[in-house]
Subunit: 140 residues, 2 copies
DNA sequence: ATGCCTGCAAAGCCTTTGCATCTGC
DNA sequence: GCAGATGCAAAGGCTTTGCAGGCAT
């Protein structure tokens, strides 16, 4: 993979932030420096960079994908209210004890063989938490 | 919520299968009995039925939502190859020991308060498993 | 010259929504 | 007659893709 200038700028911009931006947010950041860049190029490059393990991709249901320059293993929390994603620094259990014994096992009823699992964390970012304190009726 | 005939048929058709169909699959099943039903109605009713807890909704990133008549708590596995979802009958750990201690806690660095977590399981359905045995190069 | 990359625009996929009409109480 | 539900079609949000031209080797 050659490091074109677009690719380089995309990577640099991503590395400036800790907010796990969406493709569109990256696009807008990159646009400041490369006004003629296209959204398609941003998508293509983010995809390529994440495929090669240079950056991370964070996917969750019903929400646009987000990207992370930090590929070291760490937990993410997604705000259940606004969708923001944060890095978790609490020391959480990394694995579910006893779960690994099930990997590779075929469930007799469904016929599925288990290959992996992951723990998804949800929470409230500071501003959403504060807003909910103010108006509890906004809860859903 | 009134039980219209469309709603009733949607529920009945969903209850006939164990495949966790997508909205579109439900639509096609319902169409056999109500040829003039609309996709929008199917979406609206599936949403309403799941909001009220009569059926379950299964969401995962990059895949269409799926629905489940069985609202009793149970695990799902998603086939990493074809997206099919199965019910897991293996007796898995229900919770991550020690994790609950973190609920309600604010992570100092990110500022997020943890509110919940869930374990996602991935695997291979029988037919994808078999196909991968035949042509290992299809793996990704 | 070649092969990868880009900008642009269009299409794609899934889901939601506006609106006029219809239904059942 | 009214509230709520429907069919239809259009729009919406996000992502991918086809294509013609560009750039570096």
């Amino acid at each position: 993979m050659k490091m074109t200038s677009q690719r380089q700028v995309i990577l640099e911009e991503l590395r400036k932030v800790t907010t796990h931006p969406t493709a569109d947010e990256v696009y807008r950041m990159v646009q400041q420096r490369l006004p003629r860049v296209s959204l398609g190029t941003v998508y293509r490059n983010l995809e390529m960079l994440s495929q090669t393990g240079i950056i991370g991709k964070i996917e969750s249901p019903g929400a646009p994908m987000r990207f992370d320059w930090n590929v070291a293993p760490h937990h993410h929390v997604r705000c259940q209210r606004c969708g923001r994603v944060g890095d978790l620094h609490l020391h959480l259990p990394e694995t579910v004890p006893g779960m690994d014994a099930f990997l590779g096992v075929r469930d007799p009823k469904s016929g599925f063989v288990l290959t992996g699992y992951q723990v998804e964390l949800v929470g409230l970012c500071r501003s959403c938490y504060d807003q909910m304190q103010v108006s509890p009726k906004d809860m859903d």
